[in-house]
Symmetry: D2
Subunit: 227 residues, 4 copies
């Protein structure tokens, strides 16, 4: 399994037109440059179809955005952990608010990912769900109140108690799980607040993908992470 150095900026490319195909590779390359310049871990999560080209173009960690709970075999139109690994991914996001999973499926995928040496970041919408996810032993949890996703209103300002409550509950259940803050993050201030509240990084999508200047946006976000 690839060793992740925290804090972390995890960029979810979603299915945005701006971060698809050739542009996925461009965005990943800029993330790689900033990561090297500032010494901060940046993980990129492009669409399934872009994992292979992105993983060939950059050396920073590449994640999938989701995988299906199936092993290789007769599964038309499904995405296996083996397939994303073949394509060059070292981990995956799971249970994003746009792709929620059954509780038994998260358990199954997290266990199989460990066997394959793949990293898992499981999203959660409430402190209770975060604590529940922690019991399944993923590597990271991203706490994201869905009502703030894509709004530009940072959870760290709008609902700081959601973050602190998550940190407390998760620590009790499983202190080894790393916690990221998601939803509404667009500035370095938001990141600084996320770190202050006890999380070790952020999960960002539109805040970077839709920025006019990707390089500037990424630098802004990682600056509070530079030790």
């Amino acid at each position: 399994m690839v060793e992740i150095k925290y804090p972390v900026l995890l960029i979810n490319f979603k299915a945005y037109r701006q971060s698809s195909g050739r542009r996925a590779v461009e965005l990943a390359k800029i993330a790689e440059e900033v990561s090297k310049e500032r010494g901060v871990t940046i993980i990129v999560a492009p669409q399934f179809t872009d994992i292979a080209p992105v993983a060939q173009a950059v050396e920073i960690p590449v994640f999938a955005q989701h995988v299906d709970p199936v092993s290789p075999g007769a599964h038309t139109g499904h995405v296996t952990l083996e397939a994303i690994k073949d394509a060059g991914a070292v981990g995956t996001i799971l249970n994003h608010s746009e792709r929620r999973l059954r509780i038994d499926v998260i358990d199954e995928i997290v266990k199989r990912a460990k066997e394959l040496g793949l990293i898992t970041t499981v999203c959660a919408n409430t402190p209770e769900v975060s604590a529940a996810v922690a019991a399944l032993n993923p590597d990271m949890i991203a706490i994201e109140p869905p009502e703030l996703i894509g709004t530009g209103i940072p959870v760290s300002k709008a609902k700081p108690e959601v973050i602190t409550s998550t940190v407390n509950l998760v620590k009790k259940v499983n202190p080894q799980v790393k916690i990221l803050t998601g939803a509404g993050i667009t500035t370095g201030d938001d990141v600084a607040a996320a770190l202050r509240l006890g999380t070790v990084g952020v999960l960002v999508a539109s805040g970077i993908v839709k920025a006019k200047d990707w390089r500037k946006a990424i630098i802004d976000l990682v600056t509070p992470m530079v030790s």
Copy 2:
């Protein structure tokens, strides 16, 4: 909220022909008789369409087998907590292996059930999922390895370590949650083993529904529960 006295026998009628319609009422009445004679709590969980007739016919607690994560409103073909309560149910099974739910949905339904004074019994397939569910604060968890459901091979004999591991993990996360043993339970011996391993009751379906003599089968199962 109805107060449940433990230990408990929870009978899932599933969609079996033998426990549908008029026969659902008959089975519930026999369960009620045995419950009163032996002083053991028996909960019956008939199909949605049978909740109202069953709840009118008996005084023992009636559960639904599932509810959908929606509030009353424009939701064609969905089952709300309010609807099962109107029909006379005092609680519901959730996340059965034949009706698994998303982790955020379990969180949402358990929270809304508490507001409405309804009891929740959430099924789980592994010790880790049981611990995860415990973080969501349901009233009961039923640990049921799906590969044993309907086999007549009791989990308490085939995989006792699944039960003890569940009991240990759940206690650490949330000691207030009651744990039931499910899957493969058909005899009083299986129930005695389930109680010995630290759980406070059993969840049974085919073991009773498919028995030739319902009364005899229920008496056999509750006998080890008589204090």
Copy 3:
């Protein structure tokens, strides 16, 4: 199979609070009175939990709002055709925009419903989907552009070409299927337009359920259907 005399008013109770539990029975009784007084077929589709009490209280046809594609057996939390029939339903709505179904599942349920003598009304959102559904041989199709559902803007006025195009396409594929108009129907004028455009009835939910005076609302809608 119960013989349906057209035109038809099909009332979908959805999961509205106003048409749940005891109030479901009240609404069904008013529908029955108007049906008898005016000699127009009115079908009521209450929630699963209300089918049995409603079917016991009235003699007009009762439908379910949905069924699951499973036969009786080990299916926790599912609704079978047999269960709704036991409860007194003579048919079911399928594929409502709030409960869409897979194409193979509609085929399977329609075929099994025929074997059991149950009537099927399959909803469709476009003329093409209506034509596709017609090839599966249901008894009725309800064409409902989802963007108009619950708006009070009748499809017969806002998009009459959707209705006429549906009527034309369905006739080519399967002239025996009866077509209902749905979405936004609230007045007798809307019903008159629906009949003029070549359909043989309407599917209504909020237009009746949310009306202050149920009796008056139903009378208004069936008046254009009186021959």
Copy 4:
């Protein structure tokens, strides 16, 4: 839209280990060689993660195995038509028995695919579902009785009446749709039978992917297609 010359051999790589990653490219190259040598159209459908590498390596048509019903935007873990097109696909399989779709979703994706110049091949399990799909105007339908998929028992021998009935029903609804035979195809004889029964090609997965000698297996299957 790429012009397809019929008859056609469509190879579904599924999520088989044997046809993943580097081996997906190898299999596609062999398919391309045979296609050029024999002058028969061969389409390859690798996993999402393999579309880009395969499409870069070969000039024969590349299909996806499935797409999700979403436009580009905030859709984590989804596969858009735009994404598969960016990656080099010219079409997609839809509604495979291992990835069934809602009827309205097939309608939506087929319409959007046409706008984007992408070809659609929609699978169907029965003659009635085939006729229903035909009403949605896809380019091709693949009739595949699911009980025969992966068995090596060709539908053209085991259930020829399913094929002929499909051909008849589809022709009545929409004579422009091309029909492929799927399920259990492993030999040239099976392909010859499929063509004789009125279909214009075959959809094959394990019959080729699991063959010891890919080249030989493909040659065997396309030989009856050589005009």
